[in-house]
């Protein structure tokens, strides 16, 4: 196959060319191809794997190498509390089933018991590596219900914070992925930069991880005056730090040995499985919510839709690194164009009035009291909003029954859906590669189980 013989350098160059003007756009697989792929995909349940192995072992000879191996829920490479039930034939994976639910927290149910403002704090505890993006998708869905206008400063700030969150999320992915493949130092480098990002989050919101900063109606409060300089400092140094990671990994023979050609996912398979994010784009499908269904003004930014061609673990790595660079570009544009003005909607039914207004305005006092005692009441109806999170298409579906608490909130967790690709990818491969595949799919178990 001509494609497989390309050197990794050529593959990297192709990824950095993708999405540029004048380049042929990569196409979506046809519906027929997807339907064909969907027919062939089998995702067994843990019980099915164990039963299948028991049937096999009934009339197996004493030399049969087959066994069922439990990976997790306490396993350093499962990125949390995932249990993988793997049927092995020697070192080869016959089939596997992810057993999820060890981190089921009842977040969606809990949100029904809280007002719209309070339910926000639950959102960032789903995908705890991308808190601001989780805040954003919930805020967008609620704002759709309320039909309220967001001032430009909040819009641009949201894009900026989303991109910083994406970098944060990718840094943890890269660090743990490298750690799983025994490259310890990359983890230390990634967390060094992550601390700078967390400092920015702490600066704006007061918290390192669970920020609750993007709220329905705008931002929690205005950016502090050091904000611009701090982010600019980070954006100045970060591109060279990405080069450092690449210097450690991209041409590293051990890294290539462990990732090139491992865990291939074809475009049709990826679409049939519903995968999204970098996992889908590495397979060559040009799908990015930021480009296709822009939100918060993403259509005004100049960035490229990075796509790979082969969809192996190495390409997922390259695509994410290229996206890190794109994220720096978007964040720089957002920072340069951050306008002055209000940081939240002026609708007093949704956002409380400024504190000083309360002292002389009766209406403001009433609005403030109403908002903090019972909250706002969106009209009856439902709304769906989707954003591109660090893991893929993150959706939020909110149903309102006209009261101040959501009737139902549901998240389309990209990790949950991406994880389904693992049984398909790992079938027939060796167990050592299973670790690489799982890490490169980048599931966050908090979002899988919710």
């Amino acid at each position: 196959m001509a494609v497989a013989e390309r050197s990794v350098g050529e593959r990297r160059a192709a990824i950095y060319q993708s999405g540029r003007d004048g380049q042929p756009d990569r196409a979506f697989p046809t519906p027929q191809q997807v339907a064909q792929a969907a027919r062939e995909i089998v995702v067994p349940s843990p019980r099915q794997v164990i039963a299948a192995n028991a049937r096999r072992m009934k009339d197996a000879s004493q030399f049969d190498q087959s066994m069922v191996l439990n990976m997790g829920p306490q396993h350093p490479s499962t990125h949390g509390v995932l249990r993988l039930v793997v049927e092995l034939e020697g070192e080869e994976v016959v089939q596997l089933a992810p057993d999820i639910g060890f981190l089921h927290t009842g977040i969606e149910k809990n949100m029904e018991a809280k007002t719209y403002q309070k339910a926000l704090v639950m959102t960032e505890r789903t995908d705890y590596l991308g808190p601001m993006i989780n805040n954003l998708v919930y805020a967008l869905a609620v704002e759709k219900l309320l039909d309220c206008e967001i001032p430009p400063r909040a819009q641009v700030g949201r894009v900026l914070l989303s991109e910083l969150t994406r970098m944060n999320s990718y840094l943890v992915w890269l660090g743990t992925h490298a750690l799983d493949l025994a490259a310890m130092s990359v983890f230390l480098y990634c967390f060094r930069e992550r601390e700078l990002l967390l400092d920015i989050f702490e600066l704006v919101s007061g918290a390192r991880m669970h920020t609750s900063y993007i709220r329905p109606g705008g931002l929690a409060w205005d950016f502090p005056k050091e904000f611009k300089a701090t982010v600019q400092h980070f954006l100045n140094i970060f591109p060279s730090r990405i080069d450092e990671y690449e210097a450690l990994l991209t041409d590293n023979p051990i890294w290539k040995e462990r990732t090139v050609g491992v865990g291939k996912l074809t475009a049709a398979d990826a679409v049939a499985l519903g995968a999204s994010g970098a996992n889908l784009r590495a397979a060559g499908v040009p799908y990015d919510v930021r480009k296709l269904f822009p939100y918060s003004g993403y259509e005004n930014y100049d960035f490229r839709l990075i796509t790979g061609t082969e969809g192996d673990t190495y390409e997922r790595y390259l695509v994410r690194i290229a996206e890190l660079r794109e994220a720096v570009k978007i964040a720089q544009q957002a920072l340069d164009n951050l306008p002055d003005g209000p940081y939240a909607t002026s609708d007093r039914k949704i956002w409380p009035p400024p504190k000083e207004e309360i002292t002389y305005s009766m209406e403001s006092l009433i609005h403030h009291f109403k908002l903090w005692t019972e909250g706002f009441k969106p009209p009856k109806g439902d709304a769906y909003a989707a954003v591109e999170s660090g893991r893929g298409e993150l959706g939020c579906y909110v149903v309102s029954d006209g009261s101040s608490k959501p009737y139902r909130v549901h998240f389309r967790g990209p990790s949950f859906i991406n994880l389904q690709a693992l049984p398909h990818m790992a079938k027939g491969k060796v167990i050592g590669d299973l670790i690489a595949m799982l890490a490169s799919l980048d599931p966050v178990l908090g979002e899988v189980d919710r």
Binding site: P73, Q74, H75, P76, G80, V81, G101, F102, L103, H104, T105, G106, I107, K109, N110, V121, M122, R125, Y128, L129, V172, G175, T176, F187, L188, Y189, F191, R192, R194, E195, L198, R208, M209, H210, L445, G446, D449
Partner: protein, 180 residues
């Protein structure tokens, strides 16, 4: 574990021995590599470049409970996870300690609902609670140093074991997980 506990009370000999043993235990306390949720990320951050837990001799994470003597319960414990946490605790060899890291592990935090164990002390005995959602790495380091302080004051002999097992008035061991 070991000779010093079998020896029992030997008067002033044990007090000196105690200090030496406890000093050793605080300086080589190996945590179990075991993350549950958000707090695990901060636990990783505490071990990474900026906070560098290894200054306190705490960095040797062991993926196997048999080799670990500190369990940091980092994150919310769901009802499905609870038996696993208890099993991991039982698999750890004595002497062993538990830190409940974060609000979820301490009291279930914001998740007062059907799915989450309302504090990990329902299933394992906890030595130190670290507050925060998630706690900053400094808080975790502080929690670990509090634990060191506690360990330094521990007495030798079966009392160390009392950390792990609970006995009722008749001296029978209390079963910590009741069958539901």
């Amino acid at each position: 574990m070991g000779l010093e506990e079998k020896a029992g009370n030997l008067g002033f000999v044990t007090t000196t021995l105690e200090a030496a043993v406890n000093w050793g235990r605080t300086n080589a306390m190996w945590p179990l590599t075991f993350g549950l949720a958000c707090c695990a990320i901060e636990m990783m951050a505490a071990q990474a470049s900026d906070f560098d837990l290894s200054r306190f001799g705490m960095e040797v994470n062991r993926p196997s409970p048999r080799q670990a003597d500190l369990m940091i319960v980092a994150g919310r414990v769901s009802r499905k996870m609870a038996p696993v946490v208890r099993q991991l605790y039982d698999q750890m060899s004595d002497p062993k300690w538990v830190i409940a890291m974060g609000d979820c592990a301490s009291t279930a935090g914001v998740f007062n609902n059907y799915a989450v164990v309302q504090g990990v002390d329902e299933i394992v005995p906890v030595d130190v609670y670290v507050a925060g959602c998630p706690p900053r790495p400094e808080s975790l380091i502080h929690g670990i140093m509090m634990l060191h302080e506690k360990v330094r004051r521990e007495k030798l002999g079966p009392r160390t074991k009392a950390n792990a097992l609970r006995f009722d008035d008749d001296g029978r061991q209390v079963e910590l997980i009741r069958s539901r």
